[in-house]
Amino acid sequence: MLKELCLLNGASGDESAVREYIIDKIKDYCEYEVDALGSIIAFKKGRKTPSKKVCFNAHMDEVGFIITNITDEGYLRFAPVGGIDSRVCLDRVVKINDIKGVIGDKAYHLLEEDERKKAPSFDKLLIDIGAQSKEEAEKYVSLGDFAYFESEYYEFGDGFIKAKALDDRIGCCLLIKLIQSNLEYDTYFCFNTQEEVGLRGAKCTAFQVQSDVSVILESTTASDLDGVSGADKVCCAGSGAVISYMDKRTVYDRELYKHIMSVAKENGIPCQTKTAVAGGNDAGSIQTSGKGCKVCAISLPTRYIHSASSVVKKQDIENTEKLIFKLLETIYD
């Protein structure tokens, strides 16, 4: 299921393929509605109605590109949708509608010495679809169309997965599994849109659900790489789910943070926290939407996030799933 989710294309504002896939997976297990921004709000009846309203969240959108102009020679200008480092775009294959293109630059031999030392910014990059003219390109592409990295999903090394959009199809995948399971308590689930362009979809779903407690399932940057030491690693692949106490958008509820850590410890499930205040997710808008709510984030340590080749360890996904199911036993108290 994670493979199918990652291979779907769904940049912020273009989430329909992901939404349809998810609805198909959950429709027999819950009640749901799609809101004005395209987010799915699902409600699953449990055996009991808890005193607290609990909501689990993940976002459907991924980073991508949007076509902003077609040149007279039939090449496509584009801008990033969400935070993408322009350096992970050069020489990649992209998909636009049903055709493919490549993001190329001058031959290496023709680069001046100073050009070789400077990464090209987005305004210098073009997508080449092989069109001979603007007219030919316009038959296949319109301004405002989205483009996506052409990226396979595969497993490699010692139990790692490489794919695009692991951020946050992992969260979507875990949410679907929760909905498909038997729940003790009534629970809400939000599959949010537009996270990558400013935590927008979640702001509106949180307003509608008005939960007491919201859990955000995410993917966060792991920097356990060659040349990075100590706290700079932030979190490590293979060390379990990341429970955040603070990031750039949110100071998380202290009691919830401690509670999740103790549930993990009691059950012998590996987990970790971030060793730096870095990143941010939908918790930032959910916590302050409407009357506000308590928030916590459980994230998968992910390397090379926001590129065509993000990497996660399978064992971390399994341990995160275990932790969430254990948490279901106590989070309503």
């Binding site: 190329g104 092989g130 920097s223 590129s307 990497v311 360890k313």
Partner: protein, 343 residues
């Protein structure tokens, strides 16, 4: 002109790996393709030849090696350090997918990225050096040392993408598209009254080393080198390039044989073969023609190129109609010239 599908041939040729000094895989593919045309042999440097016919001797050269990287060390955390074999553009390294070609087969990996929280202002414009980054193969040191050996070759992930029209984007079209053009020409030359040696040479990307050895001692009368050259895309100067889809680029240079060059241009005109003139200054063409022409007592040599965009990237682009124009031009020239010398 032939029954061979140019796109299929290019797909087959570009899927095989041949970083300078480790050409085994592409040699096997070529043996299979070439055996129907003539006698196939492989020399000490891994140049591969296909020879047939007798008489006036034509050497047709394209290089089979490609740019890549080589494993130089394994870190304590199991990351793989590499350095380049041939001209690699460091600007595209971050988060790129690669394959390490080991004794046990392919090991997939990803170039590490510099995480945003560790970047300083303006770092997003910085181009990483091979010291800054390494390849993540998802293994610890012990596992990595079992899977990968120092000296193993590394390539970018293979890619074969059909664009609009006749354009295709793939890895190593430099110079497998030249190899393809010669194979297509061989189809037409089976009954030519001359001796033809197709040579697919190694280590061009490391300085024409294979062709130097390969053109030695073969009593060659004329040689044609086939390579790729700069095709126009909007980020280049028009004056630096020729255009895709406009035909074979006939090289004109101080180091190339003028009589052959003029005859190639005439042949192209006579037979209505799309062509463009690539006039080059300086004393070199940057191709195997430089080395072949001064071999032994000298070999008359011409150069024909296929216009290519994004040279030395994993997404190089050529137009298959240009590959076919080059093939036709070679075949028509050799037929005409064989007729002249036999007359």
């Amino acid at each position: 002109m032939t029954d061979i599908n140019t796109k299929e041939l290019l797909k087959k040729l570009t899927s095989a790996v041949a970083v300078g000094g480790a050409e085994g895989e592409v040699i096997e593919v070529l043996k299979d393709v070439l055996e129907k045309y003539g006698e196939v042999s492989v020399d000490e440097m891994n140049n591969i030849y296909c020879t047939f016919g007798s008489g006036y001797h034509f050497l047709l050269d394209a290089h089979l090696d490609e740019i890549g990287m080589i494993v130089t060390s394994i870190t304590d955390d199991g990351f793989i350090k590499v350095n380049k074999c041939g001209g690699i553009d460091n600007r595209m390294l971050l988060a790129s997918e690669v394959s390490i070609w080991t004794a046990g087969g392919e090991v997939k990996g990803i170039f590490t990225n510099i995480p945003p929280h560790l970047q300083k202002a303006d770092d997003d414009k910085k181009v990483p050096s091979f010291d800054d980054i390494s390849i993540d193969i998802g293994m610890n040191k012990e596992q990595a040392e079992k899977a990968v050996a120092l000296g193993d070759r590394v390539t970018f992930k293979r890619n074969f993408t059909e664009l609009l029209g006749n354009q295709i984007s793939a890895s190593v079209l430099d110079d497998r598209s030249g190899v393809a053009a010669i194979i297509l020409a061989l189809e037409e030359l089976q009954n030519v009254p001359a001796k033809v040696t197709a040579m697919f040479s190694t280590q061009e990307e490391l300085g024409g080393r294979g062709a130097k050895v390969g053109s030695y001692g073969k009593a060659v009368d004329e040689a044609i080198a086939v390579d790729v050259s700069f095709g126009y895309s909007p980020l280049c100067k028009k004056t630096d390039c020729k255009e895709l889809g406009k035909g074979a680029m006939i090289g004109v240079s101080a180091v190339l044989d003028r009589v052959m060059t003029n005859s190639l241009i005439e042949t192209a005109k006579e037979k209505n073969i799309p062509h463009q003139i690539e006039a080059m200054g300086s004393g070199s063409t940057g191709t195997n023609a430089d080395d072949i022409s001064v071999n032994q007592s000298g070999i008359r040599t011409a150069l024909i190129s296929i216009p290519e965009k994004y040279m030395h990237s994993p997404i190089e682009v050529v137009d298959t109609s240009d590959v076919e124009s080059v093939a036709r031009l070679i075949a028509e020239y050799v037929k005409k010239r064989a007729g002249e010398v036999n007359a």
